[in-house]
């Protein structure tokens, strides 16, 4: 099995789906001639032609609107946001129109909106955001955020095949840093939407997390095992909406001490919702209050030292885990 990066795994998944189903097509800014800002769709124009790899004007609302129309007519559009930060420009189309089309008009809207997400790349406030909380609140949408190369491929394929709109958040810090052996041809890599994955088994503390924070949590878990003898379980949610409640409850019941780690800012972040669910369903299983490690409530600074200060780091996770273990 050849070793591929997270980005290459995503590219493979997209290419396989376009070869499998001629209704699948890509549209976005610079996705054709230029091959995408991060080269995710490099070579696609040559292979699939300008009818299926469409360069659009810089108008996210129009891109999503056009994709919705195509989806209603039976196509399977995959929209690329050049940076996921710009999905805010399509907020109205996604929440008022796309998310409600099936409910209002019985119109299926099978489409994927994907884009590079997250920080740690010195991108500043417009190129580093984690916007899941803004869409998590909208019934009718699905949200996935892979952490591994296998899931980058498995989730984009599942998202393309899903009958409803899926937001796919790919972490730009992981693009070329994560490598994994993936099967070539033959076995199909598919990750079911709505199912979390235990990234590391443990018995003392559970970390519920996703995307790039899975890797920081795993680093913290290794350090805590070596330095403190703590056994830390890491749950990679993979899908944020619908959330895998059963997997969260299972890990709470197992370790009785839980922390949630996310890269998004703290106030109104998903950790609050996860905490509420644990409180509602597993109060009697808690041996400590649920804790959060998140970014600070601030726009992400350009200055490297300040970006490091605002975003959650491995040592923040280690510190909070120690506090939780001592409770």
């Amino acid at each position: 099995m050849p070793e591929v990066t997270y980005l290459e795994a995503l590219r493979q998944g997209l290419r396989e789906e376009m070869r499998r189903d001629e209704n699948v097509f890509i549209l976005g800014e610079d996705v054709g001639l230029y091959g995408g800002a991060f080269k995710v769709t490099e070579g696609f124009l040559a292979e699939f032609g300008a009818q299926r790899v469409i360069d659009t004007p810089i108008a996210e609302s129009a891109i999503v609107g056009a994709a919705a129309g195509a989806a209603h007519m039976g196509m399977r559009p995959v929209v690329e946001m050049q940076f996921i930060d710009f999905i805010s420009c399509a907020y109205n189309q996604l929440t008022n129109y796309v998310a409600t089309a099936r409910y209002r008009a019985g119109l299926a809207c099978p489409m994927v909106v994907r884009g590079p997400y997250g920080g740690y790349v010195r991108g500043g406030p417009f190129h580093s955001q984690c916007p899941e909380a803004a869409f998590f609140h909208t019934p009718g949408l699905k949200i996935v955020a892979p952490a591994t190369a296998r899931d980058a491929k498995g989730l984009i394929k599942a998202a393309v095949r899903d009958p409803d709109p899926v937001l796919y958040f790919e972490h730009k810090f992981l693009y070329r840093r994560i490598k994994e052996d993936l099967p070539e041809g033959g076995e199909e890599v598919l990750t079911p939407i709505g199912v979390a994955r235990v990234a590391r088994e443990g018995t003392d503390i559970s970390i519920v997390t996703w995307s790039a924070m899975v890797w920081k949590s795993l680093d913290a878990a290794r350090q805590l095992e070596q330095e403190d003898g703590l056994s830390v379980e890491v749950l990679d949610l993979r899908t944020l909406l619908p959330m895998d409640d059963a997997a969260i409850l299972a890990t709470v019941r197992k370790t009785n001490r839980v922390m949630i780690v996310h890269e998004d800012t703290r106030t109104g972040g998903l950790a609050g919702e996860i905490t509420a669910r644990i409180n509602e369903s597993a109060f009697e299983w808690l041996d400590a209050p649920v804790r959060r490690v998140t970014a600070g409530d601030a726009p992400l600074p350009y200055a490297p030292s300040l970006e490091d200060a605002v975003l959650p780091q491995t040592e923040d996770i280690v510190r909070m885990a120690r506090e939780l273990a001592a409770y």
């Binding site: 197992k254 009785n256 597993a282 009697e284 299983w285 808690l286 041996d287 001592a326 409770y327």
Partner: protein, 456 residues
Amino acid sequence: MARLDVIMPQMGESIAEGTLSRWMKKVGDPVKRDEPIFEISTDKVDAEIPAPAAGVLVEIKVQEGQTVPVQTVVAVIDTEAGATVAAPIAAPVPAAPVRAAPPAPSPVAAPAPGPVSAAVLPPSPSAAPRAETVDDRLRSRSTPLVRRIAAENHVDFTAIPGSGVAGRVTKKDLLGYIEAGGAAASPQGTAAAPQRAPAPQTGPLVSIASGIEETPWAAVPWPGDRVEPMSKIRMLTAQHMVLSRRTSAHVTSFYEVDMTRVARLRDAHKKAFEERGAKLTYLGFITKAVADCLRRHPILNAAVRGSTVIYRQPINIGIAVALDWGLIVPVVRNADELSLFGVARTMRDLADRARAKRLKPDEVQQGTFTITNPGGFGSYVGAPIINQPQVAILGVGAVEKRPKVLTLDDGTDVIAPRLLMMLGLSYDHRVVDGADADRFMADLKRLLEEFPEGAL
């Protein structure tokens, strides 16, 4: 003057608050040591609370109808006789069935955990009141998980050294203590139980749709009607009954029992029992017979927890006692280990103390099977509602002379006057099948009709 705080006592390990139902003394009244001064009702039991010392009641801080956490100061006694009586701080207000605001920090005494049996009496007056800190709270309350495991294993975790923050007892501390044999024998094993057990299907009693919620057909009072708020015991009964109906798949099986032989035994031994301080009743015979039969039919002496069945080790039979102010179910513990005399004496003692509001909380807890006796009022038979989380309840009808067809030794059928009694067993069909229930009842009927004279 020497002022002594009177505190809302902790009426049992799992009880966090109590409702002050009635003041028996007014501000200015002299009180004797151990003289009842107020009455409380908790989730489990009603009780009169005695004065911790002699003196004069100088201040009432909690009014009738208010619900306050345990350890809250409810009154102050001046222990120096003849001291001037302070004017009442708060004018007495009519009892309002509303929850009082949490008490100000200052009058809350430090939690003084003690053995449950001693907790009926107010804590020692030497426990000086002081503010409850977060550390105190961590030490005495720990976490939901620890409280749950402690309750399931009947452990007072406040007595265990804690390794957590501020000396808090952690899950590990508690499980270690239980594994080391610190807990009372638990029927379902200890340490691993909390993790193995499935999620409770229901939350705490009061959070479930209760018997007292507003319904679409809520009754409206008509002119001239009298509207009274329910007492605490009434509300708890209402909630429990509705919840039980929703929880268990009730089925009732009826059996007729010939009590002629029991009546003869009773007449023969009544006097001897009375001389030894017990009253020999039909219910005594029935309770004893039920206890013996339950040992052979453990599924009737069980409880349901999620998708598991807990087979109870002890046979603790609750006997429903009708009081003027409601229903209470004191428990005859280990009834199968008692003689008929022991059962009769325990039943009389429990019933007497229930009427006098002198039951201890432990005496109404941990029943494993319940008997109710509407026959005392003349009822032919009833289909009672199960006392959760048990799986069966026996309703006893009136014992009266009725005609019965008997077959003589020579095969002739005759109609004879016999003392007959109906029994109605309601059981939870989720775990008890008809065959289980009927085998138990047939056994019970045989034992009563052939009650061994040697057992007296």
